[in-house]
Symmetry: C2
Subunit: 317 residues, 2 copies
DNA sequence: CTTGAAACG
DNA sequence: CGTTGCAAG
């Protein structure tokens, strides 16, 4: 155990006992050598003290569920449990893979979260799909980029709240053979960036979801081997910087943890989750005006049910 | 229990105890009234005393497995167990749903049955497919109807033995909306009939498999409701008579049990198996020259793993 | 490796 | 309802 965990430096406070180990697969590393002083993200120890509900804060979560119906069928876990455990205010979902006809069956999924907004792919049934599920009623909601013709795949929901716009996005995967790379960058990323800039004229923006890009080497278990893999091409990484970060959006997890390895996705294909061969593809990016209000940007790597895990953002109001 | 079983007259010898009941779903009936003195087929009581292996006989079996790989994955049952239980000489399979590339993985499925012959659909992957698996080495084997262009779906294997040809057939389903009815009748049934007549010039024939036709009202749980359902249309039933029975093939189960309800197929769709809402679609038809040599033509309705159950034929040599 | 749809039964 | 192969990730 110790030998496996030494691959990245693990702080003493993060050491887990044998008995905790089974419950905390995130502690296992695939990296064979310690790299650049990176440390492993431990959601038990690396989070600030929780804010109590009598303080003013809002808790947002995001999760690529890889098929909502499959998730709900799973025993041993329900979206409801996450709600109870995390007591979030807003939950953003990606890859619901719902069709329009399925939406009614899940519209009132979570008691207390009466405000739910769903997009489905009309281009391909059972593909893509996003949702915002909220305790707070948004001032307004809009679907898609609006200004473009990229809205057939149900990849974006925007909810306007008092002090920010919340964008729940499922960015197109560049695909096997990178056959959709140019669409992803030249069309989607660009359009999304423009859309965000437009919104920022009136209010700060929070962009969350599966942005389908591991920004830096620290954000992927095997950077060298994935230089031409969808999600880690130099084109996508540069687009991520140019269209989002350079435009003033702050990667909240990275800001809080400059040297921390925290993955949010582990491919099913090679049992990547138990060896922590993961990627950080899910983000909370916030407009600069909000950056200082972030109390905690975190990952819940132990939540099962999807190839992605949920992430969270606690924002002081 | 008693009330459910009275829907068709059940002979005293067939009555089962409460404890046996769970194991014998075949005894349950969907018919709401006794009809025409029909009785239920009970494989425990309605079979002649078994022949011992020192007498000269051959035991043939046939089973539409509805996907051989799925069947083999099932726990609680394996094709091997059927071999051990039934000690057959030859097993005919339909709907193996194998592709050419899968055949090698199952070619030596059953120890002691070294002679195996497989057809696959080249028209549609994972569709149709038949096999003959034999302890006895056939004199010759041929695939398809040979004389026609209906062989792209892997629906027929013929094995020549000393005293008969054995045809393992998976007759085309007429499909939803009966869109393949005319092909089934005018092309397939006719070609098969001609093929059989040709073979009969040299030797008697045994035609077994999923013939996809419930011949008479006694052969289906709900005759009135299925007059336009694939497998019970008047066209298919007349074709069955004209092309096979009138041409001298004897329906061995029906000959042995003129008034017995014995189904071999229960659709998955409405849990038909536990209510015995079945059809008799699987047959052993034999040339008249063989009819008197039939010791037993039987059904094993309690064998799980497919929507069809295996049937058997014991033939004195 | 897993989801979901589609075809077929 | 259940199998299979398929596209997608």
């Amino acid at each position: 155990l110790a030998t496996e965990a030494t691959s990245i430096h693990v702080e003493e406070s993060q050491k887990v006992s044998e008995s905790d180990y089974a419950k905390e697969p995130w502690i296992r590393f695939a990296h064979k050598k310690p790299q650049k002083g990176w440390v492993a993200y431990n959601p038990r120890t690396m989070r600030p003290p929780p804010l109590t509900r009598d303080k003013d804060f809002v808790k947002l979560m995001s999760w690529n569920v890889n098929g909502l119906r499959a998730l709900l069928k799973l025993e041993g876990f329900s979206a409801l449990e996450l709600a109870q455990r995390e007591d979030f205010d807003v939950l953003c979902l990606q890859e619901t893979k719902l069709q329009e006809k399925d939406v009614e069956t899940v519209r009132d999924l979570l008691e207390g979260y009466e405000n739910t907004y769903w997009t489905c792919s009309i281009a391909k049934a059972g593909y893509s799909g996003t949702a915002i599920i909220s305790r707070i009623k948004p001032l307004s909601v809009s679907y898609g980029l609006g200004i473009s013709d990229h809205d057939a795949e149900g990849r974006l929901v925007t909810a306007e709240f008092d002090s920010f716009y919340l964008l729940c996005a499922y960015v197109p995967n560049s695909g096997d053979g990178l056959k959709r790379l140019s669409y992803r960058i030249a069309e989607w990323d660009l359009s999304l960036s423009k859309y965000i800039k437009e919104l920022e004229k009136s209010k700060p923006v929070i962009l969350t979801g599966d942005l389908n890009c591991a920004h830096q080497e620290i954000d992927i278990y095997n950077p060298a081997g994935n230089k031409r893999s969808a999600g880690f091409t130099i084109e996508e990484r540069e687009s991520f910087e140019k269209n989002f970060l350079s435009e003033g959006l702050v990667d909240t997890f990275r800001k809080q943890h400059p040297n921390v390895v925290g993955y949010t996705y582990w491919g099913y294909r090679h049992g990547g989750r138990k060896t922590n061969r993961g990627w950080r593809l899910d983000y909370f990016l916030v407009s600069e005006a909000l950056a200082d209000k972030v109390h905690d940007s975190y990952i819940l790597p132990d939540v099962p049910g999807s190839d992605h895990c949920p992430i969270g953002l606690v924002l002081k109001c």
